[in-house]
Amino acid sequence: MHQETAVLRHEFDPIDRELIESFKAGSSEAMERLVERYENRIFTFGLKMCGHRQDAEDIAQETFLSAFRHLDRFRQETPLKNWLFKIAARACFRKRRKKKGEPDREISIESLRHEDGNGGDYFIPDPDESPHDAVLRLELKTIIDNSIRSLPPKYRMVFNLRDMEGFSTEEAAQIMGISIQLVKTRLHRARLFLRDKITAAYREGGLQ
């Protein structure tokens, strides 16, 4: 497979830079502020990857602890946020290994194509008209969360980084240490897979 290496140039966030300097100088308040800036995103990522709040809490914990321990070696060539996600991604994989979680597998493009003509009529609710009713909303959220959870881990990670967290293809490649082409392939299959899952959940008598 063709390997493109991601070369990224970033302006380092000036607030992060200042907080990192203060932390190195011994400010515990700077530590608190750095955590405050990123804790929700790291926790969300952990939860989306592992599916359990306790695991997500552990991942956030491990991520920040590792980051603060190694902050003096962090050269600020990538944004702090990307560096934190890289640590968090590793923590997610470790957690899965430790828990002897589901094995990773590939999604074949053939399984998503519906050449027989069935399954081509997708039912995806309009995101702009998501239900006002709290029960229906929760039901919809459960369908979405379960669908994302049912992705094989390496596809789930690409989807979470790209579509949930908004990282670019290049950034996701750098965070996961894989090629740009592989990010694109996995993202496409993950999206197609989710479309099928959500449609199936509706067909099986979900919301209407």
Binding site: M31, N40, F43, L65, R69, I124, P127, S130, S147, R195
Partner: protein, 83 residues
């Protein structure tokens, strides 16, 4: 699915993400204008992503945030003392 549909099917995500060159985009758009199946395919995929983004968010609870910070402070302070 025709061969043309197949060819485009592989590139829908790149199309949605604006990662294709203009000529390929035009080619896909022309095809969609005459192929309702492919148009539906692209639209539903776009919706899937938008829906996940909208409904998939999570929020750290205050007690979870407190626990994370407390443990961090504890670990880092202990290490600091140990030198």
């Amino acid at each position: 699915m025709t061969d043309n549909c197949m060819k485009h099917f592989e590139r829908i995500s790149e199309y949605l993400d604006g990662e294709l060159d203009p000529a390929t985009c035009i080619e896909i758009e022309r095809h969609m204008a005459e192929c309702p199946q492919c148009e539906n395919c692209v639209e539903s995929l776009k919706r899937t992503v938008a829906l996940c983004r909208k409904m998939g968010g999570e929020k750290l609870a205050p007690d979870e945030a407190t626990r994370i910070r407390e443990k961090l402070r504890e670990c880092l302070f202990r290490e600091h003392k140990a030198g």
